[in-house]
């Protein structure tokens, strides 16, 4: 077994009293004071997250656009400079390699942010696909610290320590600026359902910026948020998690990510399979549900209807902002209508739930 990796902020988390767990090959903070408190704090004030375990792959060269557009299902061609784009990345069979964010740095330069546990796999996939293309692909993950600042107070806090006019950065755009005097990339993106930013800097400056944000945002209620609340925040906002809502055996169409799959664009990995899947009609679909009876749904619990198994829970949890138990499930397409009753099999008992609209939570 390979040894676990630590982000440059590891010591900062330990000092803050974080409970550390293994996640995707990394030693990461799962919580500081408690998942519910952290969750609510991010929704009501602001939360700071160390997401440095995420991978960054840099793509440069004359064929950069053609290359990235072949890899991902969304359309990179339409991107403007300083724009961000969310996209699944598929295999030929329509299964998902990963989901990622593309940053357009220049016409021949894209910066791609991938999931921590998939970084090595993705990098290999990039290299395989780069054959015959005039591009330079670099895994620069260990040269970047990524800090997310999310929540209604995020902009106000960050504006105090940056020369970048944040009000000019629209949702899913980025800019360059100094944060605490350090050159950074700042994007208005996130994984919480709140407004907020993700900041990319060189590793040695991570702890300084983290501490500065904590100090600057103290009066506005900023607190560090661990992976536990990151998961409940993203689930309420119905943001998918690789390996749960999509995977090498769950296509982006099944995962309800069709708007990020541009079947009309020129050839891309998985296009043939996805077009076929769409034409034939989806047999399985992702649906949101809430528990009607008492019980907490967890990933992989079977979903039944009239005693018949129709799918499984992909993610489930107590939802702190809703005070309900909610989940996402991949189920047979004929059962996904809103209001329809299903059962979640919890410890061999069918516990009643019903299909509901998603996202479960929308910021006011």
């Amino acid at each position: 077994m390979t040894s676990l990796k630590r982000t440059p902020l590891y010591e900062t988390h330990v000092k803050a009293g974080a409970k550390i767990v293994e996640f995707g090959g990394w030693e990461m903070p799962i919580q500081y004071t408690g998942i519910i408190e952290e969750h609510n704090n991010c929704r009501n004030y602001a939360g700071i997250f160390d997401v440095s375990h995420m991978g960054e792959i840099d793509v440069k060269g004359p064929d950069a656009l053609k290359f990235v557009n072949k890899l991902v299902t969304n359309d990179v061609e339409k991107m403007a400079l300083k724009q961000c784009l969310y996209s699944p990345m598929c295999y030929e069979d329509g299964g998902v390699v990963d989901d990622l964010l593309v940053y357009k740095m220049a016409d021949d330069h894209y910066y791609i942010v991938v999931n921590a546990s998939n970084t090595d796999k993705d990098y290999d996939w990039f290299l395989q696909n780069a054959k015959g293309m005039d591009v330079k692909v670099d895994n620069i993950s260990d040269q970047v610290v990524q800090i997310a600042l999310q929540g209604p107070k995020a902009e106000g806090i960050l504006q105090k320590i940056t020369d970048c006019d944040l009000s000019k950065i629209k949702y899913y755009w980025f800019d360059y600026g100094k944060v605490n005097g350090i050159e950074s990339i700042i994007s208005r993106t996130g994984y919480t359902g709140e407004d907020g930013f993700e900041i990319y800097v060189k590793p040695e400056f991570g702890p300084g910026i983290w501490d500065k944000i904590m100090e600057t945002g103290k009066d506005e209620g900023v607190t560090p948020i661990g992976l536990g609340a990151r998961d409940t925040l993203r689930l309420e906002a119905r943001l998918p998690l690789y390996g749960h809502e999509m995977s090498d055996s769950i296509s982006p169409l099944e995962a309800g990510l069709g708007i990020f799959v541009k079947l009309n664009k020129e050839d891309f990995n998985g296009k043939t399979a996805l077009v076929k899947q769409k034409e034939e009609g989806l047999k399985r679909k992702l649906a949101g549900f809430e528990m009607v009876e008492r019980g907490i749904p967890r990933a992989e619990y079977p979903i039944t209807k009239d005693g018949k198994e129709i799918g499984w829970v992909t993610s489930g949890s107590f939802a702190p902002s809703l005070n309900k138990n909610i989940g996402l499930a991949l189920i047979k397409a004929e059962y996904v209508s809103i209001g329809s009753e299903i059962e979640v099999n919890i410890r061999n008992k069918g516990i009643k739930a019903k299909i509901v609209e998603t996202p479960f939570y929308k910021r006011g």
Binding site: T232, G295, I296, N325
Partner: protein, 128 residues
Amino acid sequence: MENPKDLKYTKDHEWVRVEGNKAVIGVTDVAQSLMGDVVFVELPEIDAEFAAGEAAANIESVKAVSEVFAPVGGKIAEVNTALEDTPELINKDAFGEGWIFTVEISDSAELDNLLTVEEYGKLLVEGE
């Protein structure tokens, strides 16, 4: 928080308070702190019988499910219904209001298998 001296313990972090032929059962403060925010407790049915070591209840925190094993065998006499609406009592008062169920002890000899506060304290220091 200190583990009360008048209780018996298990290696699975349950505590037992013997009251006549009844045993009151809960989880220790160490256990609740490991679990984090408790959001649901699945209580056993009254009169259900469990052997010592059998899972009798489930505690769900935001992140995970933990089983509560019957430290001694017997029939469930009472369950703490307050946990249905306020499961966080386990976080707030693990040794008091966070009790989970009581059993009518079927074989008091099983009590000898439980840990004393010193033995439990030693286990916490040394790990399992």
